[in-house]
């Protein structure tokens, strides 16, 4: 007699997205206990400030990851879009809102390019996006004639966009408004993944592409859209990036995607596709950000964070693999 899995409190906790929340809480607790400075409000604000672009990239890259692919161009892409937008504002005198729009459109464009390369031309996702990573790195620098680009500071005209993320009140406390926006976006995209056709088919493609094709669904379209969404969010990420980094340097940005992708995987997105959640990604990215910000407070260089992130990424994937192997060994249906 076959049994189906019984739901128990324990199995609820084996769901990665809840483990991640626990990890976030745990890490925060550890850092707060270990360091008085960490407990300061300003630290909290700094942490949030630098987290926005990671979170946005993470939310975006979750979609290609869930289809079983990846987008490695988000880091250099984000920098490229920020550079181009900022250049137009700085040197061509366009209003900031247009600069922002240009960044978004550029992101969508590169996203579409990635989508075509992977979904239509059948190139391996990591290679195709590695190439667009190089291309956006080159473009970012080329289109701005190799200048470093500062977006307007909050005192200058056009600097209003900073207040999307942070408001300074009368007695000089800073309120991290940006946190509200990323939460809203997270909620929206979680809804998209779980309850819209687009999200549904993205999961189906990652889980069993052939079966999805056989069901008569236009797989190519939705597959491309996954990358377009990713590109859009890389463009969105450019805005808080521009706000957080006073002067954007061309040629930077490589390595940032690892933190976003690592965050998504830690948050429960499967490396081979088919499963994952936006909420999990959200918290997973915060695990990475907490490490980045917190480790120096307990005396470890920021570079330890890189090593630890790498180890965590592998650990997360290995847990997933062990689970799969165990399922096959006990002869369950999933093989």
């Amino acid at each position: 007699m076959e049994k189906t899995k019984k739901k128990s409190v324990l199995s609820l906790f084996s769901n990665q997205k809840y483990i991640v929340i626990l990890v976030v809480i745990l890490l925060s607790a550890i850092f707060m206990i270990a360091s008085a400075d960490f407990r300061k409000y300003t630290t909290f604000v700094t942490l949030l400030d630098m987290s926005y672009y990671y979170v946005l990239m993470g939310i975006g890259v979750a979609f290609p990851l869930i289809t079983g692919g990846v987008d490695l161009s988000i880091g250099t892409g984000m920098v490229c879009y920020a550079l181009v937008g900022g250049y137009l504002v700085r040197n061509a005198g366009v209003p900031v809102i247009v600069g922002i729009l240009v960044a978004l459109l550029f992101g969508i464009g590169i996203g579409a390019l990635n989508g075509v390369l992977v979904a239509v031309m059948d190139l391996p996702a990591f290679l195709a996006t590695l190439c667009t990573c190089m291309i956006t790195r080159g473009l970012g620098s080329l289109l701005t004639f190799k200048s470093t680009v500062p977006w307007p500071t909050d005192k200058q005209p056009g600097g209003w966009f900073h207040s999307i993320f942070k408001i300074t009140t009368g007695n000089n406390t800073k309120i991290p408004l940006g946190f509200l926006w990323v939460i809203i976006l997270m909620v929206i995209m979680a809804f998209v993944l779980k309850h819209t056709k687009f999200g549904r088919y993205v999961i189906a493609i990652g889980s069993n592409k052939e079966a999805t094709i056989l069901s008569g669904i236009n797989v190519k379209f939705f597959h491309i859209m996954a990358y377009v969404v990713c590109g859009l969010f890389a463009g969105l990420a450019a805005i808080p990036y521009a706000s957080a980094i006073p002067t954007i340097q061309p040629g930077t940005g490589a390595g940032v995607e690892l933190d976003a992708i690592g965050g998504a995987i830690v948050g429960g997105v499967s490396a081979t596709g088919g499963s994952g959640s936006i909420e999990g990604t959200f918290f997973g990215v915060y695990v990475i950000c907490l490490l980045k910000v917190g480790l120096p407070f307990i005396g470890l260089q920021a570079n330890w964070q890189q090593v630890i992130t790498g180890a965590i990424l592998i650990g997360a994937v290995m847990i997933d693999i062990v689970k799969k192997r165990r399922a096959i060994a006990t002869g369950q249906a999933a093989a």
């Binding site: 990846v70 390369l117 031309m121 059948d122 190139l123 391996p124 990591f126 290679l127 195709a128 590695l130 190439c131 667009t132 990573c133 190089m134 291309i135 790195r137 080159g138 473009l139 970012g140 620098s141 080329l142 190799k146 061309p250 040629g251 490589a254 390595g255 690892l258 992708i261 690592g262 995987i265 490396a271 081979t272 260089q301 570079n303 330890w304 964070q305 890189q306 090593v307 630890i308 992130t309 790498g310 180890a311 990424l313 592998i314 994937v317 290995m318 693999i321």
Partner: protein, 323 residues
Amino acid sequence: MEKFKNSAFVKKVGFNRIVLAGVLILMYVIFSVAIKGFLGSSHLMGTLNYVYFLGFLSLGVTFVIATGGIDFSIGPVMFCCALISGYCFGTYHVPMAVAVILCILVGLLFGMFNGYLVAYWDVPPFIVSMASMNIAKGAASIFTKTQSISWPRAEEAGGWFRSIVKVGDFPMGLILFLVGAAICAVILNNTRIGRYILCLGSNKEAVRLSGVNVRKWLMLAYVICGILVGIAALFFVATYTTVQPNYGDQYNNEAIAGCVMGGTSMAGGLASIGGTVIGVFIIALLQEGILALGLAKDVQLIITGVIVIVAVYADVLARRRRK
């Protein structure tokens, strides 16, 4: 055209490689015409300098791609090797010979790490690469306390290692690179390791069902890559002296580009050392030519990115035809 394609000479050398060599020569001619003084030896030197370390990186990643996998931790790992062993030389005063061996050893260790995870744990190679990349950057930074490391110049103590690149005016590096490439070609085509790597890259299950310990040979491919990355590190510092932590990403792409351009298939099973060598020269020449033209490095990046896309797509099409 068909007759040319089917002639014995072409079959032996490989049509793709002839086309590549043609592209290389064409590029050289174009640059020589377009840029004054390009024919001069300083540009040749510049190109060769770039070839040495990039060449060994490409050779290394050829073995990995031949198994159907990928490794884009090679750039940061190369820097990690150079940083750690250079630090040992500069701060702990280990003899240069030891530093050289240490450099290669670090590469070997990363190769083992990557290979073990891919072969025995079935972790997707691109994830292992990403994690390795991070770990290499972080480890190097921590070890050297985020300082950049300069290896000794030729006239300083321990500077003898530079003779791998140049002995007087003689481009020793070129000889060593070509010798290295030849050894790799022999390994790939004439030894057990090479045979198993190519076969398992083409059809892993069929090889497993023939009684071969597939996991072992798969891991070895990554180990070989690691060793070659360590060697690449030596050539890098012998040429450019200084290495910084948190650097090296761009060389990943270029190394993979050289390899893929040369005819090594991303799907695995098909690899060409000769093609990789020519591919590396093309990239190095491109780099040098673009610089000489006064254009930004960025143009070269964009062009390289496009070239790889074209090369891989050509491979995809060829694969469809072969089925």
